[in-house]
Symmetry: C2
Subunit: 229 residues, 2 copies
DNA sequence: ATAAGAATTGAACATTGTTTAATTTACTAT
DNA sequence: ATAGTAAATTAAACAATGTTCAATTCTTAT
């Protein structure tokens, strides 16, 4: 009766490992070949199990996709939390915007899962997803502080925070979903940076001195400009 | 040999009618039950033909979806063109933004097809789609005029136009794809209007007198507030 | 070694998009 | 009117999808 604790723990750990491996594989296929290629049979092939086996790890395909959303959400949240420490609210706002755009452009599949795809919205609604909710509240708080300290025109903080989120989301999602036929892809980075600068500068009260960070800011995607050569 | 012109014309017209009916039905299913419900067999059922028959009208399913995109594109373009006549560039900019948001919120399926879905992007890339391209150029021209007349801070017109498009796209697509858990749906309209006002006001040079239209502007989605009672 | 329990398989289902040979329909020429 | 022809439509099949479940294998405690 009294089962061996060691083996039951090990079995649980192995189950968890396979679960993670399934998600790894799903993500990898998604990234390399697009969502249509993410198939139960294809995943099963790559983890060397039978399709049916996956159903003892996930209820259905949507559960797999949703698990990917949760992963992506944690990744983005960690990024945001690392910025909360910045004391200057305008610098924080600036850095958050840049980090958001950069995350999206460097992790388009994660971004797609989090903010564009319709596949997981059913289950996202059920879990009602605190992550993005708190992210928005943090953004609003930052905006509010900016207003209080005179870096932004005083106005409804909800509206202003939503406006900024809308801008960054809009710009990256137009790029990710290739709805920018008017602009060649090489110019995406410059455009992103230029539009962001334009908005931030435009919003700053005229008498306000432009903070140093806004003048010396590197490009949004400055770092790893891999491939493309 | 010399075929009867009348009947060949009529056959062509009938073909065209069925083609349109297929698109009507597809759009109707999409609107009422979502994209997953839009199935070749389902469409065939509703037009009272056999699934195979549809393939003499469209090459494949993606062709059908793309035809829906073309339809939506014409609809949106007509809307834009009706605004080109406005002489005052800031008023035109303002009206265009409101019209865009309103189009999206009142025609979420069309908007999805045009700017969010990934299904038709293959064929959109092939046709390289002049519609949205010229729409962007028109927007840029309006922005440019606003800058020249002192209604917007002088800056790169491409970046500024892109920033504005990004904002409106971002806001409506977050709503359409239900990524706004932080905000109850009843507030969508107010938020849209508030964010738009915030951005427009923030961008206007401080010394500039606020044009009348910006003060008296009705809500973005003022008109038909159907249902929801 | 054996029994119990968990994990995995294999085979089946229903549903998808798509193709194609066969059939029906519509129309022209006699 | 009739036969022939070209177009339109069907019916049936295919492969691939998500999913289920009885049968089998594997693991582990006794």
């Amino acid at each position: 009766m009294a089962k061996n604790l060691k083996s039951i723990q090990r079995r649980e750990r192995e189950r968890e490992e396979l679960r993670e491996q399934i998600l790894d594989v799903a993500m990898s296929i998604f990234t390399k070949e697009g969502y249509e290629a993410v198939t139960i049979r294809r995943i099963a092939d790559e983890v060397e199990y039978t399709p049916g086996a996956l159903y003892s790890y996930f209820g259905d395909k949507e559960d797999i996709v949703f698990a990917l959303v949760v992963r992506a959400s944690k990744k983005l949240n960690a990024l945001f939390q690392s910025l909360e420490a910045l004391p200057h609210p305008l610098e924080r706002l600036w850095a958050t915007g840049r980090a958001y755009m950069r995350f999206a452009m460097e992790n388009p599949v994660e971004y797609d899962l989090l903010f564009i795809m319709s596949a997981p919205i059913q289950k996202m609604a059920e879990c009602d997803f605190d992550e993005t909710r708190t992210a928005f509240h943090i953004l609003r708080k930052t905006v509010q502080e900016c207003m209080e300290q005179g870096f932004l025109p005083r106005a409804d903080a909800d509206a202003a925070a939503f406006a900024m989120w809308s801008f960054v989301h809009g710009s990256v999602s137009l790029m990710i979903r290739k709805r920018l036929a008017a602009i060649p892809e090489e110019k995406y980075d410059d455009l992103l940076q230029g539009a962001f600068n334009f908005l931030m500068n435009a919003m700053m009260p005229r008498h306000q001195e432009t903070p140093a960070i806004m003048l010396s800011a590197p490009k949004v995607l400055a770092k790893k400009k891999i491939g493309k050569k």
